[in-house]
């Protein structure tokens, strides 16, 4: 059984690639800051919470909102999973923060999905997963990097964010997360805002 991941490590896995978008699309992150985040992700440097809050102010604001709504702490495994797996796409569709000014294809690329691994490829020391949608997910990625989830195998469900597989997920946990957090006022508010934007 895989050892439980610390919340800061889970946050870095989910959020690292967002910093690449912030650097390349919004010029809100420098090469040096991105490299520092990557060193934390690779566990070469200790996590620096104050620094991460400066790089990811929107993510921490949203985590605080979710924690307040659900009477939990922002940096727990479940709050992080709830944010990225359940709320993240709703924030995007609602045009929250920078998503209001990012192009449509970037917003779609930034969404988090659950996918099934259909094939594991290993090339030049890197793992990659060919993936197919789980449930009704619609995404353009043919595959993702599997470097963060070496234990995943064909048939497993993984959470994907941009070009990364972030973690494996059990269907029962995923269903519980959806049931619990899609029922919140915060989620329904975001969904209503997204509908208003579309109309």
């Amino acid at each position: 059984m895989t050892a439980a991941m610390a919340p800061d490590e889970l946050f870095l896995r989910y959020a690292y690639s967002c910093a690449e978008v912030q650097r390349d699309h919004l010029h809100a992150v420098t090469d040096g800051e991105l490299a520092k985040v990557r060193r934390m992700l690779d566990r070469e440097d200790a996590t620096d919470d104050a620094f991460l809050k400066s790089v990811y102010p929107a993510a921490f604001r949203r985590l605080e909102l979710i924690a307040k709504e659900t009477k939990s702490a922002p940096l727990t495994t479940e709050t992080l999973d709830a944010y990225f797996i359940v709320y993240h796409n709703a924030f995007i569709d609602a045009g929250d923060g920078s998503y209001a000014k990012l192009p449509r294809w970037t917003c779609e690329y930034c969404k988090v999905h659950v996918a099934r691994v259909t094939e594991v490829l290993v090339q030049d020391g890197h793992r990659a997963f060919r993936i197919e949608p789980y449930e009704h997910a619609v995404f353009r990625q043919a595959g993702v990097s599997g470097d963060l989830v070496p234990e995943a195998k064909a048939g497993d469900l993984v959470v994907i964010h941009q070009g990364w597989a972030v973690k494996t997920v059990e269907p029962s946990y995923y269903e519980r997360l959806k049931k619990a957090y899609q029922a919140t006022k915060l989620f329904s508010g975001l969904t209503q805002k997204a509908q208003a934007l579309r109309s």
């Binding site: 690639s17 690449e20 699309h25 192009p103 030049d124 990659a128 043919a142 941009q162 070009g163």
Partner: protein, 72 residues
């Protein structure tokens, strides 16, 4: 570190499953193992040296034009 912007495929080495992706300021190689059908002229996103998806050309060009205008 990856670039989170679309690059244009300018060369394919089918035998080695490698694409040369042009980002204007630089060119990088990426594996096409996940998307062997990618072809020269396609705009792609690369993660960990692997092509993970294509981006429709009109969307990619519009985005890159905006980036260029912002940098000017």
């Amino acid at each position: 570190m990856c670039l989170a912007i679309p690059g244009k495929v300018i060369e394919i080495d089918a035998k080695r499953q490698l694409a040369t992706v042009d980002y204007e300021a630089e060119q990088r190689e990426a594996s096409t193992a996940l998307l062997p059908e990618v072809k020269v002229g396609d705009y792609v996103l690369v993660q960990a040296k692997m092509v993970v998806q294509t981006v429709p050309a009109d969307e990619a060009r519009k985005f890159l034009d905006t980036l260029r205008e912002g940098a000017a």
